[in-house]
Symmetry: C2
Subunit: 475 residues, 2 copies
């Protein structure tokens, strides 16, 4: 089937304006926010409802045309880049908040709704959506990658919020993976399976998500430490004391420096914990007193509280803009972020290991992380024209992954696999990788859904993903 | 393959004493705690390690012998009853607590460990395992059925505690479904898929589970109301106010009456909420004051607090023994428990509907439930020799399921499917039921693993399950 024939078929299903082969538009759908190599779709489509998505999938499946679902392209491991070309399905026209069931703490949304769009609406009801990966991603994309971020330590990851997904399968069949009840022991747990499946099992056309009441009291704090080790050990002690932190983020010295430049703040330059507590006033005060005693035991240099809503928002914006702060601070370079997650007992050593090895690379970068979950990122700024630098960065990333896997951790806490972590999947999952392959094969026998991502089915795929970022092929 | 040949093969793998065809033992493995019809395995085996389980599965798979994994037989929907005979794998000899990783709030256990066995050990570390379904089930069984119970409203269900499962697949392959990190975006979410799979995808040989710090302060309360509707509406208001209850259980008048007889308590006889709050002292007091104001708005007649550890335990034991209280109160009758779960906004009406229809049946019984999750049980006491009664009870159960499904609920909040809820699966899951069937078929092509439970693969199975409890075949 030629692209021309494909476009004609698609135009029989969709309004003409919703099918495009425009070069600029294809380019927008050929990259994400990562360092991974560009590759363009043949055509971009903008469906407006589930039935159109189903018809698109039927055409694609019949003609073995690769399909990539596309939210806003904020992925960090090449998830949405169509390395096999074909159709990019852009969900931006499916951006309606369908229903807010305030009594049930549930919302029903279309996949193109972004998290800030949802939160703006929820605020009217005294509710909020907890998952906050930094980027203003679409909820469909966040479900597809099992996004998490700063609040996961208290409220859980994306998968914990998903009550139901409406999914269009490879052959166009429309299924629902769950229901609206708070718990269920019925059937196999498809909610969990499809969340985080990175578009390889189906396209989401509607999501039912759990939301939370805006907490009565919120208090943010910044605590600085003489060393990154002191900071990390303070985190471990706080968690082990059972203090229910809502966020607890580590920002190292180099990163605080970038934050201050980019966000025009004057935060103390040293390894710092950004924290937040949610609760009723009395309980929160008791928690915070306990926390203060602990950080003091770990040589805390300075602790500043931000009760004021504006100052709190500034704090978290500064934290969230950190990746952009680095990108703006190093023009011409691209950012690679590592993403291991380790058991809490391994966290302090893992961060020390990362720090030492980052120094050895000589690359500019910093360490930040959702340390309450044992998840941290090393941001490395790479000159993509310098092959030596890319090699160094990849080797560093790989060393860190191996370190984490040996200690019961994972190669990706939240960014997902895409193509960037594809080469670690077999190593990480062992025999269960075959189970994943079996599930992929039976649900998408023609391998059209986000081909070459998350799970390798044939040899061709791994070659493409390797080419795209010239990785050492050691594993 | 004859039973004799099978036994000989099994004795080549296992110590002779661990392979039995003893009639009494087979009978013990031919029932559970429900009203479902008995059916005996041909042989019962007691493996001592994963490799033995793997070898058993290889023999079974090669010879197409049905296999049922067996914990303690406390299931309520016939899960462990071998309707196709074959091998019952009893995990009682695999009952070691392998490791308590207190710094990580994790434990590694063998599947035969019971929850009270684990909690006894955890207490030494100031930790506890949260899931509490009432029965002292094995953790392997609880993971297989995604058990929950009274504490799920705060701590989540069994699936929320599972970090890793070691699973022996149908062909004897041993896989691990997760890791020890707090979160992961790597691979497909097999933890979630295998938890609640009721033995149809594999046998669990090791579990890594999340545990929690024993809360600083615990307070239990009993609040009585003039009507079940007042009680239910109080629950909805408490949840919507965002008060973090650790348990909130409804016990209706008939059930309180049975509790008082069986547990020698003198609780006020009326619709009652049993509640528990966990937290720091100041926060907990503020929560409880808020709760008191709410229940008073809903005509609460009496509220009694149990701060004392002994009185608290007595309260929860009384609640947990409720099913036994009914069984002892109606000698000669068997207990059927409905198990729907509905969105919170539908709870008050659903319980009223259940109450009215229970009265119409004329059968003795009561309503209890984990109302914080929208999950409740109607306990019906049936004379199994009276076909009319069984028919009535089944019809009532079915009506309630249909009521729940229409309102976004599920046929089973926590008891699972087994054979009792098999006939509702297609109705509840629609097109996604086929996805479940595909997964089952690809992972267990010979359909030997707990054949005829959870997912129907061929017609033969449904016939057996229908025969077993003479259900109307309306769906």
């Amino acid at each position: 089937m030629t692209t021309k024939q494909l476009v004609e078929k698609l135009k029989q299903i969709l309004p003409e304006k919703n099918v495009s082969t425009n070069e600029n538009l294809r380019q927008l759908h050929g990259t994400d926010e990562s360092y991974h190599k560009e590759s363009l779709p043949d055509v971009v489509v903008f469906p407006e409802n589930r039935n159109q998505v189903s018809e698109i999938m039927k055409i694609a499946n019949k003609n073995h045309v690769p399909v990539v679902p596309f939210g806003l392209g904020t992925s960090l491991e090449g998830h949405v880049i169509p390395y096999h070309n074909g159709i990019s399905i852009d969900f931006s026209l499916m951006n309606k908040i369908i229903e807010i069931k305030e009594d049930d703490f549930l919302v029903r949304v279309e996949p193109g709704v972004t998290r800030t769009q949802l939160n703006k609406e929820l605020k009217k009801y005294g509710l909020f959506f907890s998952v906050d990966p930094g980027a203003d991603a679409t909820l469909g994309g966040m479900a597809a990658t099992n996004a998490s971020g700063t609040t996961a330590v208290k409220y859980g990851v994306m998968r914990d919020q998903v009550r139901n997904l409406e999914v269009v399968l490879a052959d166009g069949t429309i299924i629902e993976t769950g229901n609206q009840a708070a718990k269920s022991a019925s059937g196999l747990h498809l909610n969990g399976l499809f969340t985080g499946s990175e578009g390889i099992l189906g396209c989401f056309t509607e999501l039912t998500l759990k939301v939370h009441g805006i907490p009565e009291h919120v208090l943010a704090a910044r605590a600085s430490f003489p060393s990154i080790n002191d900071a990390t050990e303070a985190v471990v002690s706080i968690l082990q004391a059972g203090i229910p932190v809502a966020r607890i983020e580590l920002v190292d010295e180099a990163s605080i420096h970038q934050v201050n430049i980019h966000s025009e703040t004057d935060y103390y330059v040293g390894p710092t914990l950004f924290m937040e507590f949610h609760g009723n006033e009395a309980g929160l005060n008791e928690d915070v007193e306990f926390m203060k005693a602990i950080v003091q035991e770990h040589q805390c240099q300075e602790i500043i509280f931000e009760k004021d809503n504006h100052e709190r928002q500034k704090l978290w914006e500064a934290r969230h803009n950190l990746a952009y702060a680095f990108i703006h601070g190093y023009p011409g370079r691209k950012s690679m972020g590592t993403d291991v997650c380790v058991p809490i007992s391994e966290l302090a050593n893992a961060i020390m290991y990362a720090r030492e090895n980052l120094d050895i690379t000589g690359l500019p970068g910093g360490i930040v992380g959702h340390v309450g979950d044992g998840n941290f990122h090393v941001l490395l700024m790479i000159d993509m024209d310098n092959e030596e630098e890319l090699k160094k960065a990849n080797r560093f990333n790989e060393q860190l992954v191996m370190y984490a896997l040996k200690r019961g951790g994972t190669c990706t806490g939240e960014h997902g696999v895409g193509i960037g972590k594809l080469k670690y999947q077999e190593k990480e999952h062992g025999e269960s990788y075959k189970v994943m392959q079996q599930i992929k094969k039976v649900l998408d026998p023609n391998n059209i859904l986000n081909k070459g991502k998350l799970i390798k089915i044939d040899e061709e795929e791994i070659i493409i993903s390797e080419k795209s970022h010239s990785l050492d092929n050691k594993i």
